[in-house]
């Protein structure tokens, strides 16, 4: 199986650890990821805030590039996925003109949903060599992956299950909680730290209340917000993982070492040592 991979800008910068773990996980699952030839930024929140038309034309270039390659797209970043889908829908409905040859016929997959398909879950479960037994996690989806449903196509947008089923497939216990899709504040901390801290701190509190030992996410920005907020906390920190990092830990326990997680601000190593997932 071969897919066009649209990494997005974050995966070249702050989320380089996410990027590395994705490469390893997809190699383990025998799915070939072909990076979209000379991809460009999707525009993210800034483009649609200041120019609604550029929010459609910017992602369209990447759709066009993937069509040239003749492959369906998979996007690991929920915001990129949302923008690509919004652009694809506008192009399909012929609402906007873009300067590239593009029909929007190639599917855009959101990565967690792609991996939570029944056959993929079987493939993941087959690869597990050391299950995450006894690790209690909460899965955090954020906004852009699920909302608005008419763009993302999620029907269970109030209680998405993709990450939960992936985590269950590798032996972790996914705790139930009500804050799966509550906003973390995104980039508002740049101008309004007070709002950012209020939103992110609430998520961490609720995760602790749900009796979770770690938060699992698939969004680079959510990860940064949840991880960075805890840099000054001294008492009870709660590690934040990209779900692919945990998959990699179960697929290849022999090569697991604490070096993998040195990029996290909230050190997850003590927890993993305690659970005997890391030597």
């Amino acid at each position: 199986m071969e897919l066009a991979f649209y990494p997005g800008c974050s995966l070249e910068g702050m989320a380089i650890d996410y990027s590395r773990s994705i490469t390893a996980v997809f190699r383990d699952l025998d799915i070939e990821l072909e990076e979209i030839e000379d991809w460009s930024c999707c525009g993210a929140t800034a483009a649609h805030s200041l120019s609604e038309s550029m929010a459609v034309t910017l992602p369209a270039r990447n759709l066009a590039q993937a069509e040239k390659m003749g492959l369906d797209i998979v996007s690991p970043c929920p915001n990129c996925y949302n923008r690509l889908r919004a652009s694809q829908i506008m192009i399909q409905k012929k609402i906007i003109d873009v300067p590239w040859e593009v029909t929007g016929k190639n599917q855009v997959h959101e990565m967690t949903r792609f991996l939570a398909a029944p056959d993929m879950l079987v493939r993941i479960a087959d690869r597990v060599r050391k299950p995450l037994a006894g690790l209690k996690v909460v899965c955090y989806y954020g906004c852009q992956m699920v909302r608005p449903p008419r763009i993302t196509g999620y029907t269970d947008y109030e209680n998405p299950r993709t990450l939960d089923s992936i985590m269950t497939a590798v032996g972790a216990t996914a705790m139930d909680w009500s804050y799966k899709t509550t906003c973390c504040g995104a980039s508002i901390g740049i101008g309004r730290r007070d709002i950012q801290e209020f939103l992110t701190a609430r998520l961490l509190d609720k995760a602790r209340q749900a009796d979770a030992e770690a938060v699992v996410t698939s969004c680079p920005l959510c990860h940064a917000n949840l991880d960075l907020l805890q840099r000054k906390e001294t008492q009870s920190t709660i590690p934040v993982f990209y779900f692919t990092e945990l998959l990699r830990l179960t697929f290849d326990p022999g090569n697991a070492s604490s070096k993998w997680f040195r990029m996290h601000i909230t050190d997850p190593v003590p927890l993993l040592m305690k659970k005997e997932l890391l030597r």
Partner: protein, 211 residues
Amino acid sequence: MTDQHVENIPSLREEGNRARKLIGDRGNHFLKQIEGETRANISACYQCFRCTNACPVSQYMDIKPHQVIRYIQFGWREALLQSSTIWVCLSCEMCTTYCPNEVQVAETINHLRNMAAHSSIAPKEKQLALFHQTFLEALRHFGRVNEFWLMGALNLKPGILKEKIRTGALTEEMALGLLLFRKGKIKLLPQRCRAMGEIRKLYRQERGEMD
């Protein structure tokens, strides 16, 4: 109830005069404009407050989401474009998702943000507005966005650095930058996209330049 009947009751007559004053000479021009441009069914709002109740940041807004819709119905354009609401909104789409009448609240607020950006009105949340602007500048330079370049360029915008020194945010930001750099999470320069000509053409198109 006929108009005649309304005019005969003093309290209702006053109410009618006030409403006329509120809506002003512009009638429903602004409402029609926004409905046309966003395809959002703003007239369908019956003020059930679900958007405001779902909003994670409504306590930080000066005009609450349900009020935004009402203000549009009244045609209060300036009040909306001067509000902090349009910049504080996170586009998390809770309001749109939970609206029983499918009024696209988040998209409407986003459209107002677009209007404010292209108006002469100074944004209430200057740093947030400048952040979006700087993001698009980074994109125009490289085709991709790099966090380090973005934050540096934002700090060089007029007034930002001074404000950050005043509030002490700058020292904190530098400490955070250093921590991230040590962790290997910061890349100093972005990977440049090769098709810059195509991307810059989009920017020219946006400004109305034809070539």
